[in-house]
Symmetry: C3
Subunit: 242 residues, 3 copies
Amino acid sequence: MIVLFTDFGLEGPYTGQVKAVLYRATPGVPVVELFADAPAGQPKPAAYLLAAYGIWFPPGTVLLAVVDPGVGGNRGAVIIEAEGRWYVGPDNGLFELVVRRAADARTWEIPLRRGPLSASFHGRDLFAPVAAELARGELPSQMPREPGIGRHGDWPDDLPEIVYIDHYGNAMTGLRAALLPAGGRLTISGRVLRRARTFSDVPPSDAFWYENSNGLAEIAVNGGRAAEALDLVIGSPVAMDS
Amino acid sequence: MIVLFTDFGLEGPYTGQVKAVLYRATPGVPVVELFADAPAGQPKPAAYLLAAYGIWFPPGTVLLAVVDPGVGGNRGAVIIEAEGRWYVGPDNGLFELVVRRAADARTWEIPLRRGPLSASFHGRDLFAPVAAELARGELPSQMPREPGIGRHGDWPDDLPEIVYIDHYGNAMTGLRAALLPAGGRLTISGRVLRRARTFSDVPPSDAFWYENSNGLAEIAVNGGRAAEALDLVIGSPVAMDS
Amino acid sequence: MIVLFTDFGLEGPYTGQVKAVLYRATPGVPVVELFADAPAGQPKPAAYLLAAYGIWFPPGTVLLAVVDPGVGGNRGAVIIEAEGRWYVGPDNGLFELVVRRAADARTWEIPLRRGPLSASFHGRDLFAPVAAELARGELPSQMPREPGIGRHGDWPDDLPEIVYIDHYGNAMTGLRAALLPAGGRLTISGRVLRRARTFSDVPPSDAFWYENSNGLAEIAVNGGRAAEALDLVIGSPVAMDS
C-alpha cells in the first residue's frame, strides 16, 4: 500500500497526477490519501503529525510525504526506512520525528537528476516514481548516508503547539497523550482544559482534551468546533499543567 | 463494492484510515466515497439522504454509513440487510428510513468488544472491519434482533427540511419528489417555488425546485447558488402547497 | 486509465456515483480525479485548463470531462479522439482547445437516448457509461462527424485570463508559458509581475509568474496566496508586455 501525506489538496490536479504516476508504475497497489491538508508549507508541525499517523500502518507500507516549501531550491530528497516502513519526501525535517522515535532507521539521499523534473512539482516527478519503486520491492541501490546528517536536534520530542485542525474543528497538538499525566490539564488560549475519554463523556458545548485515535492530545468541544470556539490555528501554543 | 457515507471529510485522516482498513481486509474490492459531507453529527437528516441514495446501488453493495455523534457512548452498532444491500453503522436512527421503506429488512447488533477499539473512531476500528467481512461474503453468525427494536417511529416518512447542501449550493430536501403533486409548489424562506424539469428550463437566476437525479425534491437557482440566495442550512423547513 | 475532469466536487455524491458506474463497468481500470473543481459551469476557461492538463496523460487514456451548465437542455454530447487520447463530455466548447491543438482529432456525436437518463446528471447516466466502453476498448460504431461542426473559432489560441485558482491560492492563466517571451512580464490587477523559475528563486511575499508543471503561466506569491493578495478570480484579465 502507498499512503499519501501531503498539503496538495484533493480537488485540484496535484493528488490526481501523483496517483496517475503511481497507478501506472505499480498496477494493483492501492493508494490511500491519509492527509491532503497537512500543515501547508510547514514541515515542522507536519513532522509531528506524520510521526503519530505513520506508525499506524503495518511494516512494508510506503508513505509518500510531501510538505515542501523549498521545492526547486537546494533542499535534498530522501528515502527513510524506519521500523520496516518506507518514507519518501523532501529532506527538510519532515521525517525528523519518524527517525527520532524509531528503534532503527536508515536514510538514503535521492539524486535530484533522475529524468525530466519540473521546478515546482517534485511530488509527481521525483517522489512518486521513487515511492512506486519501493512499492514494487526495489530497494535503494546506493549506501545509506551517515546517521546524524540532516537532523533537527533542536526540535523537541513533543511539540506543545496545535499541529492540525480537522474537518470537525478539533485541534490536534504535537503532544503524545500517553506521556501526559493521567489527570493533566492543558492550557490553551487562556483556557484550562481537563481531560476526558471522549465526546460523550462531556456536557454539550464543553471544551476538553482527550487522547485521539492515533495517540495525540486533541482539543475538542462536545457538539462544537474547538478551533473557532477557542480561536486556534496551526502553531497556537499549548501549556501543560503538571 | 463498498460505499462510504460519512461526515468524515476527505482531506484529513479519517476517510484514508477507513480505506486503508478496507483495502487490507478485502483486496481488490473497490471503495467509493458517496458522501464524505453528510450532515455532520445529525443522524436524522442524514437518514433521509442515505435512504434516497443507498437504493441507487445494486443488491450486494455494502454501505458503510457513519454519522455518529454518540461514538464512545452507549449507542449500539448494527448491520442491516435491506432488499439485498448491506448497511453497517451506529444504531442511532441513521438507518430508520432505509428499514422503513424496504420490502424486507433484518437487523443484527454488532458486539462492541471485538478487538482494540478507540473511544472516538469506530468507523475505522469497528464498522470498517465488519463492512470488509460482509464484502467478503461472510454473513452475520448470530440471529437478527426482533423487528421493532431501535426504531424511530415518530420520524415522518418524508422530512420537510433541507437535508443536504451540495457543492453547487443546491439544497436537497428530505421529500421524495414522486410523492408530491405534479404542479406542486414548495415554500421555503418565505418564497414560493414552482417545479421545473431542470436548470435549462428556467430563466437565469430564477429559483425553482426539481426532482434531482436520486428522486429528492431539490431547491436550485439557475446559474446561482440557492443556499446563499435563499439563506438555507441543514434543517431549514420546507412547506408543501397542495 | 480513466481520468475525471469535472466541477462536481469530491465530498458530495456526484464523483462517487460516477466512480461507482465506472468501477462496475470496467473492473480493474484505475480512475483518477484530476480536477473536481474545474471552473464551475464555465466551459470556456475550463477548455484551456483541460487542453494543458490532458496532454500530460499517455495515449490510450480516457478523459471524462464534465463542465456542463446546459445539462438537460439541447446541447449535444461528444466523444473526441485527439492524438490517441479519448475525451467524453458535453458539446459546449469544453474540447475546443484540445481539438484545435491536436495534430489529428475526430469527433463523434453521442445519441442522447441510450437508456434511462436523468435531466440533471449526464455525467453519471450518459458520459460515464460511454467512457467505460472506451476504456474497455470499444470504439464508436458510427462515423465521425464532419470537421468544423461545433467549433468555437472565435475563442483565442491562448486565453489571457485566470482559468483556475489552486489549493495554495496560485492563479493559473490560460496562457502557455512557452509562447511568452523569456523575459516577458505579465500585468494583472494593476501589478507588473516578472518571471521566475520557481518559488525559492523569489524573496518571501514577492509576487511573480512562472511556468507551472503543466506549461501554463501561473501567478504566485512566495509563501503567500496570490489569489487573495492580488484579488484574482476566474476570469480576471491578464496583459502581456512584449
